[in-house]
């Protein structure tokens, strides 16, 4: 670990000031500290934002939900409003990491977490994300867990978050504050595909701070859920995952929100699947037909070809689980 200075701030202005001078924000630290130990991250200054007032979960005027950036994963998952209104969020959180990590890690930190690509985390390997221009060791290396969607020549790493997949599906908004004031970023624009600049992962300006993630209101009832497919039963990142939310009225699907995880360089929204569902009546055949489009545009690598088929089946399964088999 490289030496660093550590400062604790007590209000947002102080945090922004430190952030503007190049400080890195730290909350739960469950990702950043690991990466510092591996010398992947070498911040000179850490700014502890744990004391900032960003902890609440509140219902918005429009009936959505606003989750403070410093709300712990465990708190968000257990929150009554989250559980009843957006089960997909609770489930995604509870299938993440371990109980210990969920007690430390925050919602803001969760969507900021960096890829689990083992070449990214090994400073002796080539990685354009860690060291632009050094090449991508994963592309022709061991890439079983890597992305099949949204990849570029420069990078094939997945975004590891589960709850970000739910946020992508539900078209959340990320609220940030910076030296020039507050702004809101649609979730689809918040996490960046690698393109030729994989080192740039979020649409944040220098010193900007996430304050909350807002989930929009949906017509009721909204049935939702998260399915995570992985080698072992717990404590592992997704091989594939699916976040699904459906609003069915009069026997017809009126709203369909579907996104996939474990397969994309960012949480992967599936508009083609959604389009197949809207206006249709739930049926096993519909789920299968819609899920056929889940891997549209996939570019598999040597060891992750199985993800193409697995993704389709994962989405099909989760459509059935959420939408029922009628």
């Amino acid at each position: 670990m490289y030496p660093f200075t550590f400062t604790k701030v007590s209000d947002t202005a102080e945090a922004l000031n430190a952030g503007h001078r190049g400080g890195r924000y730290i909350a739960g630290g469950t990702t950043l500290v690991d990466l510092m130990r591996e010398t992947v991250e070498r911040p000179e200054t850490l700014v502890d934002i744990s004391a900032l007032p960003l902890r609440g979960v509140t219902v918005t005027e429009r009936g959505g939900l606003r989750i403070g950036a410093l709300v712990r994963m465990a708190e968000a998952a257990a929150h009554a409003k989250v559980r009843t209104t957006y089960p997909v969020i609770s489930e995604a959180l509870e299938l993440s990491a371990s109980a210990q990590l969920r007690n430390m890690a925050t919602i803001g930190g969760n969507i900021m977490q960096r890829t689990r690509c083992t070449y990214f985390r090994d400073v002796t390997a080539g990685c354009n994300k860690r060291e632009p221009g050094s090449g991508c060791a994963a592309r022709d290396g061991f890439n079983r867990t890597h992305a099949i969607l949204g990849t570029s020549d420069a990078c094939v790493a997945t975004h590891p978050s589960d709850v970000a997949v739910a946020f992508a599906a539900l078209q959340a908004t990320v609220h940030v504050v910076g030296p020039d004031g507050a702004r809101s970023i649609p979730f689809a624009d918040f996490l960046l595909r690698p393109g030729s600049t994989p080192e740039r992962e979020q649409a944040l300006q220098k010193g900007e701070l996430i304050t909350a993630v807002e989930i929009p209101a949906f017509p009721r009832p909204l049935k939702s859920g998260y399915l995570k497919v992985r080698d072992r039963q717990s404590y592992e990142f997704a091989l594939t995952s699916a976040a699904v939310a459906l609003h069915v009225r009069g026997g017809v699907i009126r709203e369909a929100k579907v996104a996939a995880g474990g397969v994309g360089t960012v949480p992967w929204k599936l508009p083609a699947v959604e389009k197949h569902l809207i206006g249709e009546r739930p049926s096993q055949a519909l789920w299968a037909e819609a899920a056929k489009h889940a891997a549209d545009g996939a570019r598999p690598l040597e060891h992750n070809r199985f993800k193409v088929e697995l993704l389709k089946r994962t989405v099909e399964r989760q459509l059935r689980i959420v939408g029922g088999t009628k």
Binding site: D231, R232, Q233, F237, L310, E316
Partner: protein, 731 residues
Amino acid sequence: MSPQPQAAVGAPLTRVDGRLKVTGKATYAAEHDIEGVVHAVIVDSTIGRGRITGIDTRAALAQPGVIKVISHLNAPRLVYRGNPESIDPPGNKQLRIFQDDKVLFHGQPVAVVVATTLETAQHAASLVKVRYDATKSSTDMASAPAGEPVNYARGDADKAFASAAVRLDVTYQQPRAHHNAMEPHATIARWDGDKLTLWDKTQWPVGTQKDVAAQFGIPNDSVRIIAPFVGGGFGSAIRAWPHIATAAIAARETGRPVKLVLSRKQMYFGTGYRPAYEYRVRLGSDRRGRVSAMVQHLKSETSTYENFTEGVLHAGQMVYNAPNVRQDYRTVPLDVNTPVWMRGPGFATAAFAVESAMDELAHKLGIDPIELRLRNEPEEDPSNGLPFSTRRLRECLATGAREFGWSRRNPKPRSTRDGDWLIGTGMAIGIMDVPRMPAQARVRLDADGTALVEAATSDMGPGTYTSQAQVAADALGLTMRNVTFRLGDSTMPPTPPHGGSMTMAMVGSAVQDGCDTVRKQAIKLAVEDERSPLYGADAGNVVVRGGRLHVKDNPARGETYGQLLTRNNRTHLEVLGSYTPGETRFSMYSYSVTFAEVAVDARLGLVRVRRMLGVYDAGRIISPKLADSQALGGQVGGIGAALLEHTVTDHRDGRIVNADLANYMVPVNADIPDLRAIFLDGGDDRKADPIGVKGLGEVVHIGVAPAIANAVFHATGRRVRELPITVEALL
């Protein structure tokens, strides 16, 4: 047979050191508080093969607190005189630390940084710049040439196979696997003049002592190893790996005690592993399932500097009574570090191939897998004609079938469904040989009626502290509370390596010998002492219970050890007990049968174990509660081997890609279902050793992976011949 009542042996006791462990007071290797200790961190090579052309240590040395950076450029030349008692692969060709500029594998130690704090040493190690002249490394067993084979043959297996009515020809692949014990490998080294003390994680204190003495060219008794607790080993701590000498070099060069702890990542190349295997099996049988031919070709990986082999041939020779068997076993030298034994070494590997093949044959013949085994069960060891000391496989099979509910099984694959899940059951046999080596134990009975028993063995988790005390307590006629067993110090009486399932049997036999002798000395003292109530009694008719000697049929006539010794002005009695194996005329193995039920998601390919049962013929069970834990641990390891564990090498440069516990999968609690262990009653095997123990630690793991793989076949109808069985094989 001891005339003593068995009070402690066979009792399901809780481990005596449990409280120390759960309260954090058990001192593991890195936890010894050594005054003035400084910290060492190894710099690993980042190429797979080549030469070091330069090392720039300026940035590292500029860090405040850095004491020294040691590499081949400034390290002392070590002697490496060779240690004839070593269990290393033969030839004294172990990796010689910092002795030249050669890099033999990715991750090889190329320098070590010593600093006043761990953090400084870690940071400075990352600042050491090593320049290399790299050449292409060879790490892929599939494409590299193999060496000369070891061969075995009986009958004419090729001819018998060619003429067999039913033939099977299949090849199984098993990956490299790492032990991944909880405790990292760690050493604290301190020189006092020319004497070296090492607080080390080791499964063999006297082995490490002699290996290190040989490396430094100093007398054995100039090296002392202290290792009272070992946080899991599974075989990885049975050799003196290079980091131990590294710590000793660093301590000598800096004149300070040095602590060196390997990182989790470094354990993937700084210590050994279970080697990858390719195992081809050809089985020939008649239509009734009588196996006539077994032709087997084995290939495993090793390093370029040591030829590691293990007991992978026994199972294919002696589990089944095939008249014609041929085996050849080749190793493939690669630019990797040397493999080492890992739980059930060789035997677990062979079980996956042989037991999967037998399951395939059973399916092909339409014969129940258990029935097929029974039809090929030998009466004597078919590999050497020796009678078995004990072999109760038929009982294991019958008991297991009954308790598991085998008769309810629909033999047709893919015939049972539970929602999205396909359900299947499978079984497999495991065997492990009973190696025998000499052991000693010192027994001291004090006049206060307590006893101290010592042996230089180890306790990596099975509960040696507890089970050896149980043997001693009964032989001495003391309660457990009054017996202390100590281990983990090379100054204590020597024992075999704490591995190969030997400790209970070998050390236990030495402990019993010493305790029997002490007890008999006390009895002799009493019956010859006119002041003793036992004066004149028949020594053979005196027993000891709760520290009190008395005539067997007349408990009123007797006295305590304390009374006897005090009156005779004896502070204590002390004896060196020993066990020396003689020639044997028996074939000696432990046996297991594992049954597994799995669920496989028909669409998503996920495999989840639902329940398992192991039935064991392991000889006498000294400590049933510990044995149960041992068995469940072995089953858990088998779930890992079957479904998760796989060390991945990037063949472009030889780096291990998944060198951490986030990417090297082991089972977590959620993967562990209902596990059950049954030990056959009345298991004493006195032909094996005086206490009738055959050994347990390995056989509980051997055969688990093929039982699961066979269950996956039964669930899905799909045969997966490569471990681990993951989603992609079942989509």
